[in-house]
Amino acid sequence: MNALHPLARLRTKYVAPPISRILIHRGTAGDAVGVSEYGDRIRRILEGKSHLVVDVCSDGANWAAPSATVAQGTFMRRFERLDLNGVDELIECFHGNCGDAARYAGTGEKGITSRMGRNDGSLGDVLSQGAYTALDRVLQLSPEEVINRLSEIGLTGRGGAHFPVAQKWRFARTHSDQQKILVVNAEEGEPGVFKDRHMLEGDPHRLLEGVLIAHHAVGFEAVYIYVNGQARQAQLSLEKALSDAGEAGIISGECWDRNFQLTINIRSGAGGYVCGEESVILNSIEGKRPVPRYKPPFATDVGLFGKPTVINNVETLCAVTTLFDNPPLQTKLISLSGDIPRAGLYEVPVDGAMTWSGMIANAGRNPQEIKALLVGGPSGEFIHFQQFDDVLEMSKLGAGGVVVLNSNADIQHITNSLAAYNKRESCGECTPCREGSERLTALLENTQGNEKKIYELVEIMTESSLCQLGGMAGRPVLSALEQFKHEFDNS
């Protein structure tokens, strides 16, 4: 046996000595605004040093794209909107002339986005930035100690339902059936949410580390990572990470001098908002129609292939890797879009320190110019400007999709298009959602005099739909009618 500690051994083998580099922020976001063109230009200018120009994923600051970051040790400076500002200043900075403004302004100073957009996707790069250190510590603990730790820090699911992770894991761990399965929900089909894609594109090893921590705590025989069919780049990054980690013996356990006895499968979804629903994912992986299952039994009892199954969101498992942070990390990923200068992915504190106003101001807009926020898309609600001083709470953020609406935004139009979306995406399995979503869009055509009917219909859909697509479809509608009734009065 090698005398070195497993993690030290891994680092010795894979981590290259630090060098100054220029990070070109590609990924889906960078590519959509043609960042490669600027990458090529920088490589041409640097000629003999072009190997120091590396492609990385978006760092979450989509508003800055096309962008690149000069990284020299811990010093980082991002150069934004290269299409408007050119690359001269960046080249100067790389040659050591960075001026005063030397502070990196990425979204993830620490937390689960800390490596996003700062690594080139190689195992060595993420290991040098702290990947797999939490797993290394977890392996020194008993499974029960790991679950207790998660319980202590109060980690909850980040997919929208906020179920305590420790409770879910403990239930699975103590289940009498020995063959348990972990399903990772990377479907992310909610319009307006793009966090899990960014995580997978930018730091897929964090998810794998979370998966292995879950495996140590619960003991799974197989893992299925169900990735949204449209998120091709995310899937490619994940596949590469899985292959690299596999070769290094991280997945088999070999490099930790253990035998994990675990298979990790990546499955691609094939469309539909309803495919993000937990039981639909199970049906989909089994090769069945994408419709929800009746509950109970719950997945933790009878899940994938009839076995007890834990279903966790990508962000949840990524957050698990912070379990030793002190104080515990209390952040949520927010996908911010709409009428806001700095739209993109944010990791915001939800420990009571941040308000809606603060978040809007951080992203470059005076909150007083904003009429409302749409939080949670087609199953979400509108936040009226009068509530902007409320602090951000995990339980009110859903999956974290926030669209900023200025005073010109037409709330009625948005409400109708959300209702139409729910109607199109209803899988048709249960009557309340199939017929209800159809009736709801019809009633919204003319709300005057129909308000009582709308409330009654929404109540039926909420109470009796098979899954939350129908169950939450009325939420944005009621929220709009309650807070912006005057906008509907003229219809």
Partner: protein, 143 residues
């Protein structure tokens, strides 16, 4: 359903058949099998459904029932080269409807999850483009 013209001797079809043939003969390989054909051919002609049914030893009707359940699986041959304009809330707010009216022959598409770079359009290779203006969109469509 009327079957569109389909060349069963094409290289793409042959490759897809080989890839599907390598999948384990298990029910849970149904979606992966259909996805292989979808990716190679961009739609699922009857011959592909039959091939999957035979390989996985499932009734044809069963495979059809799954194929019709997922929005990204096409049972009809897609119309050649069409631009799509994202109609998610952020894109809508950023003027997606102007992109639709400024050119001919484009289709609307649901949220493409690039909301922070709205408005967004998609080309036939599923490449996304962000912060699109009517000027550059008109130029791309003309090409």
């Amino acid at each position: 359903m009327k079957e569109e013209t389909f060349d069963s001797t094409s290289e793409a079809f042959r490759e897809a058949k080989i890839a599907v043939g390598k999948l384990p003969k298990k029910r849970d390989q149904l979606l992966p099998a259909l996805e292989i054909f979808q990716q190679k051919l961009h739609w699922l002609p009857e011959a592909s459904i039959e091939y999957v049914a035979n390989h996985l030893m499932l009734p044809l009707s069963e495979v059809y029932s799954i194929a019709t359940g997922y929005s990204e699986l096409n049972l009809l041959k897609p119309t050649p080269f069409k631009w799509h304009v994202c109609m998610g809330v952020a894109c809508d707010l950023a003027g997606a409807s102007e992109l639709i009216t400024c050119v001919d022959n484009v289709e609307q598409i649901d949220c493409q999850f690039l909301c922070a770079l709205a408005p967004v359009v998609v080309d036939q290779h599923e490449q996304l483009y962000g912060r699109v203006t009517t000027d550059n969109f008109q130029e791309w469509v003309k090409k």
